[in-house]
């Protein structure tokens, strides 16, 4: 454990970089309650320096927030014998349930392709599909479909130019998280770049958890499924009987 910690300290570029991120979050926990209707998180921070501001290129900031990844199956329909049928399927083995990337400027100016590939920053790089069957030549269109469908649902967001940066020191952005959130650890990364190269990196996590009644019901359904099933039935029976009795009393 101690060794791992030491390695982590040695390998963290933050401790070596001339510019470091000091971060603040408006909240680091998102509680999913019964009335949960999405959430807005303000991510802000400052760049800490020991030296004067380098003048070779302007500082840029990239912020990413990624929800827990699950493997997904993407199916495509095609027309067979006059009806639309699922014919092709591609397994996408890593796709975050939520992904937002916000930058200070146009993506191509902020980050080079090499750095994007290395850190997996853009939405395209955050998704990984492996093992498309040999019969499918256009597996890229399946990952595109994942991005298209999830972008439409507000789950994938590409926010170019949405990070405000003052005096190359203070930065902030606001992220809207939709109501359909999966619980888990949301990895939050901040990259400082110059000339498309990452000069500093910082990461933290936002904790998204069900609380209260939501938590209790969810746990019960997983740990005591039979009790949960019987509880559901009991509620159904009581409601059915209650309504019937109430209506009879109302009429008489």
């Amino acid at each position: 454990m101690r060794l791992v910690l030491w390695l982590a300290v040695l390998m963290t570029p933050v401790s070596l970089a001339a510019e470091e991120v000091v971060l603040g979050l408006s909240k680091d926990k998102v509680a999913i309650t019964t009335s949960f209707d999405g959430s807005e998180i303000l991510i802000f921070g400052a760049v800490k320096r020991e030296e004067p501001i380098p003048t070779d290129a302007p500082l840029q900031v990239v912020i990413t927030v990624a929800g827990p990844s699950h493997p997904i199956t993407v199916r495509r329909k095609s027309k067979q014998f006059g009806i639309w049928v699922n014919t092709d399927a591609v397994e996408v083995d890593r796709a975050p349930s939520f992904y937002a990337v916000a930058t200070t400027g146009p993506f191509s100016e902020v980050l080079s392709n090499v750095e994007d590939l290395r850190h997996g920053i853009s939405i395209n790089r955050a998704i990984r599909a492996v093992g498309a069957p040999a019969t499918i030549s256009d597996s890229a269109s399946f990952t595109d479909a994942v991005i298209r469908i999830r972008s439409k649902a507000g789950l994938y967001q590409q926010l170019e130019g949405q990070v405000a940066l003052d005096q190359q020191t203070l930065f902030r952005t606001a992220l809207k998280m939709p109501a359909d959130l999966t619980e888990g650890d949301y990895d939050t990364r901040i990259f400082l770049t110059r000339n498309g190269n990452v000069v500093s990196e910082y990461s933290t996590r936002i904790d998204v958890r069900k609380v209260g009644l939501e938590r209790w019901l969810f746990s019960l359904s997983r740990e005591q499924p039979l009790v949960y099933g019987l509880l559901s039935l009991a509620i159904a029976i009581a409601a059915g009987w209650g309504a019937s009795t109430a209506f009879r009393l109302l009429r008489s």
Partner: protein, 307 residues
């Protein structure tokens, strides 16, 4: 007002779900169908994941069926004996159906088969019922508004052994046809993920020759047990019953079922059948169009391996 569902993991509008439950409840009370074949597609439409929609729909049907059946019990329009015979067949059928379902799943294309099942059965039943009930209405018009005496024809159904007297239905027939009907409906219900009322009701009228007024209550009675069984299976194996969603649906549903039962009692049996036939045909047409027209989004996502 939005509400977050703990198992479905989506946020839905409270009043939309209440209204949906109410609408399906009215249909359930009027026709004695569980309403699963309308509820499930409607839940997909508002963004509930399919697995959760099917399982939670079953739980909601338990509630609206109980609410409906109690109203029928008071009017003595439930044939308990017939219901129990149908139920025995139904439970055996459901068990068989699950075996068939799992086999289809291993082959792949289970979605398509379920959809085709819907289109074929809804289409046949809807069309037959529509034509028959229109004829009945025309006949009763000719008879000068008087309800004609329904002559019960003797068919192969009456020639079978193991006869039993069903007093409430006024029938003296073999137990083999009701057991068979129950079994068939059970198999289809398990494959299609519904209570099976829309198949049960016409089968009781046309194959068994039961009076329409008794059919509705008896069908509801049988559906309660089949869907309760399904709910428990889903809750323990797939963890897909969302109790909050079910609660919202059934608040709307039980009230709707009471209203529906009252409407049903004030209507003539033929009118009731024409309406049910039309509704079945509309759902069938919608599902057929889904198969025939090019969908707007050719791709679909499915989280593999559950949670």
């Amino acid at each position: 007002m939005q509400i977050y569902l703990p198992i479905a993991e989506v946020s839905v509008n409270l009043f939309l779900v209440l209204g949906l439950g109410g609408l399906v409840g009215i249909l359930s009370g009027m026709f004695g169908v569980g309403g699963g074949f309308i509820m499930t597609p409607l839940l997909f439409f508002i963004g509930i994941p399919p697995a959760v929609a099917v399982a939670t729909g079953a739980n909601q049907i338990v509630a609206s069926s109980i609410s409906g059946v109690l109203a029928h019990f008071r009017r003595k329009t439930v044939d308990l004996k017939m219901g129990t015979v149908l139920l025995i067949g139904g439970l055996i059928g459901a068990a068989l159906g699950i075996v068939v379902f799992n086999y289809l799943k291993s082959v792949g294309q289970v979605d398509l088969l379920v959809q085709m099942c819907y289109v074929v059965f809804l289409g046949i039943i809807g069309a037959l019922m529509f034509v028959e009930s229109l004829n009945a209405i025309r006949k009763s018009r000719k008879a000068g508004g008087k309800t004609p005496y329904v002559r019960r024809q003797r068919t192969w159904v009456h020639a079978l052994p193991f006869k039993m007297r069903f007093r409430t239905s006024g029938l003296y027939i073999s137990v083999i046809p009701p057991l068979g009907v129950g079994l068939l409906v059970g198999v289809l219900a398990a494959i299609m993920g519904v209570g099976g009322g829309f198949i049960m009701v016409p089968a009781m009228i046309y194959i068994l020759g039961m009076p329409t007024k008794v059919v509705v209550g008896t069908s509801l009675y049988q559906i309660i047990f089949v869907t309760a069984f399904t709910t428990l299976l889903h809750a323990t194996t797939n963890f897909t019953v969302d109790v909050i969603l079910a609660l919202l649906l059934l608040i709307g549903g039980v009230i709707g079922a009471q209203v529906g039962t009252q409407i049903g009692l004030r209507m003539k049996a033929e009118q009731l059948r024409v309406l049910l036939a039309l509704m079945v045909l509309v759902v069938c047409g919608k599902l057929a169009l889904d198969l025939l027209l090019q969908p707007r989004e050719l791709y679909s996502l499915a989280t593999s391996g559950g949670m």
